[in-house]
């Protein structure tokens, strides 16, 4: 699919320069219906997102420096190009463009017949050249969509555009940005390829925005172009406003009744929902107090979970975009047509439901992360078609990971596969399996490594206790005999035919065997001894 449309660019024709300045900053508050006794339940939240993701290429966008900089000293992954030394020229990384095309296709976008890079000019120490090479009026891909689980069922989120750009360097302000005497600059990050994905303002709650991001992350990982585990690999700016219900759908972007706030600097998935929820509350409170909502830029402070008004007086920004003369344009729509997109989360979910007989909820959870989906897909067939396994992975494993703030990455999946197999064989109990899982995860979190499941089972003595033939001395029988000896009253009650007494005794035996006995065995052994004793 190709399209020659361009994003329109404002071209004025020379009204007086000083006249123009004033007209840029306008707030659309004149029609705001402010008043203390207004019913705000009729408002709706309008959210749009701008997402920056680092593409997981080996080298930077415009030079051959390695992108694997995270544990290295500052300014060790730099060269004349990404330091912006005079005379150096950018060289476009083919892989970065291929990755971006995969994203464009996966998001159902139209790949433009011709796209090009432009310079975005502004002055800041994180820029190596005094401009950022990005895409402006001819982005790589436009007009796509991604379906998510919305607040009221399935929802189609429209994608405005997908474009490629370079990451700026990293600034360190010792003692905080407002107190640092100077700025430290590291250009290791400068030139890492980013894609910017812009959505239409289609979200009606912070939760929807969060769900979209989760789906997007999964999609990017399925495409093999993104590693969400890398610190700072995702950054989100969000536009958020509260409008009278129906207003936005009727009048559209730019005609909002109340001002729109742009929240910048959100760098985690959880942060997005937190920042947006905070902002909704803040804006609603302002409305309740009868204050006008004006358009503004705010920054999200992750540590405190709040947004703060931008301290820097943002001057009228004029980025003076123009086509990057050192790069050739792209004509890649044919190439895009040849790129084959792998199975994406929705397709995999359907397959999991159909092939493994999973519930839609389990299937959604298990396919919502590429690593987990791969893990599940690679389990033996009899395991992955069992609801018990699905429950164990989707609820237990993911729940325990979440509890520890861990992710599936960096966890030795082969161990968990083995644990699942042991659990299925009945050699440990359900409770024992959970105990092993917890221990392994704790070790992993603490030391970055863990025992083999068998080692753990042995160490904790969680192997299901064997039960010898009647008359033999095994741990279950010993425990049963002890329990009987210690609880004559219960034995008496049992003899009177009160079945609750047996349950009590089973509980006692389970306690003594630390849960390693199978309840059925305990039941059988207890009944055997008691009936002999009669």
């Amino acid at each position: 699919m190709t399209d020659t449309t361009k994003v329109s660019r404002p071209t004025g024709d020379g009204i007086s320069f000083s006249e123009k300045k004033g007209t840029d900053i306008q707030n659309h508050t004149e029609t705001a219906n402010v008043g203390m006794n207004r019913d705000f339940s009729d408002d709706e939240v309008i959210i749009g997102l701008e997402i920056h993701c680092q593409l997981d290429t080996r080298t930077k966008l415009f030079c051959g420096c390695s992108t694997d900089y995270r544990d290295d000293s500052p300014n060790t992954h730099v060269c004349p190009i990404c330091l912006g030394l005079p005379g150096s020229l950018p060289r476009m990384n083919k892989k970065a463009i291929e990755y971006a095309l995969r994203v464009g296709k996966a998001l159902n976008c139209t790949i433009l017949e011709e796209s090009e890079f432009s310079r975005k000019n502004y002055f800041y120490p994180d820029l190596n050249k005094g401009f950022q090479i990005t895409q402006y009026d001819k982005p790589l891909a436009v007009k796509g969509h991604l379906d998510i689980e919305g607040d009221d069922g399935e929802k189609r989120v429209r994608i405005t555009r997908v474009h490629v750009e370079e990451d700026p360097g990293r600034l360190v302000h010792k003692g905080g940005v407002d107190r640092a005497k100077y700025t430290l600059v590291d250009y290791n990050r400068a030139g890492i390829p980013l894609i910017e994905i812009v959505t239409e303002p289609d979200f009606r709650s912070p939760k929807e925005a969060r769900r979209f991001l989760n789906k997007l992350r999964a999609t990017l990982e399925y495409l093999g172009v993104f590693d969400s585990e890398k610190e700072g690999s995702l950054r989100v700016d969000a536009n958020i406003s509260i409008q009278p219900k129906g207003w936005f759908d009727r009048f559209g972007k730019g005609k909002e009744d109340r001002g729109r706030v742009e929240v910048k600097n959100i760098s985690s998935y959880k942060g997005v929902e937190k920042a947006l929820t905070f902002e909704v509350t803040r804006q609603k409170n302002s409305l309740r107090r009868g204050q006008k909502l004006e358009s503004a830029t705010r920054h999200f402070v992750e540590a405190r979970g709040v947004t703060t008004a931008s301290r820097s007086k943002e001057m009228e920004q004029d980025y003076r975009y123009f086509p990057e003369p050192d790069l050739r344009p792209l004509r890649v729509s044919d190439w895009a047509d040849r790129i084959v997109i792998p199975e994406l989360p929705d397709a995999r979910k359907t397959r999991f439901i159909e092939d493994y007989c999973l519930s839609p909820t389990h299937a959604a959870t298990l396919t919502g992360d590429w690593q987990i989906a791969e893990f599940y897909d690679n389990l033996p067939n009899d395991l992955k078609t069992s609801t018990a396994t699905a429950t164990w992975v989707a609820d237990t494993l993911l729940g325990e990971l979440n509890y520890r703030d861990m992710t599936i990455r960096g966890v030795p999946l082969s161990h968990f596969k083995e644990l699942l197999l042991i659990r299925q064989s009945g050699e440990i109990t359900e409770k024992g399996a959970v105990e092993v899982l917890r221990s392994l995860l704790d070790q992993q979190k603490e030391r970055g490594t863990c025992e083999l499941p068998w080692e753990c089972i042995e160490r904790l003595g969680l192997k299901v206790l064997g039960c010898a033939a009647p008359g033999g001395k095994d741990p279950v029988t010993s425990a049963a005999e002890e329990a009987i000896a210690e609880n004559p009253q219960a034995v008496a009650d049992f003899c009177k035919g009160r079945s609750e007494a047996l349950n009590f005794l089973v509980g006692q035996v389970m306690k003594k065997t630390r849960g390693c006995a199978k309840p059925a065995d305990v039941n059988r052994v207890l009944t055997g001894i008691l009936s002999r004793g009669e």
């Binding site: 970065a96 940005v177 792209l330």
Partner: protein, 89 residues
């Protein structure tokens, strides 16, 4: 016509300070030049299907970077491997 105020504003946009005493001369030069640029008004903008070359790429192969020492060789303002720049606020 560009006024002195406009010239100051362009200076702001370009992040170039202008000495007060230069302002008048700068402004009048600007106006002469911009007036000359008005010749372009007669040109019709037509979307050109030009472009001899496109899709010039490099493979995603790592090329050794500069050493930290070489990277920092052209400045005195450095600290623990970082470049030192003026504070932003």
């Amino acid at each position: 016509m560009i006024t002195e105020r406009d010239t100051e504003h362009i200076g702001q946009l370009a992040d170039i300070a202008i000495h007060r005493e230069e302002l008048a001369a700068f402004t009048s030069r600007f106006n002469e030049i911009l007036e000359y640029f008005d010749l372009l008004d007669q040109v019709e903008v037509v979307e050109s299907i030009e472009g001899r070359e496109c899709n010039v790429f490099r493979e995603d192969e790592v090329i050794p970077s500069l050493s930290q020492q070489d990277a920092l060789a052209n400045t005195r303002e450095k600290e623990e491997g970082f470049f030192r720049a003026p504070r932003v606020m």
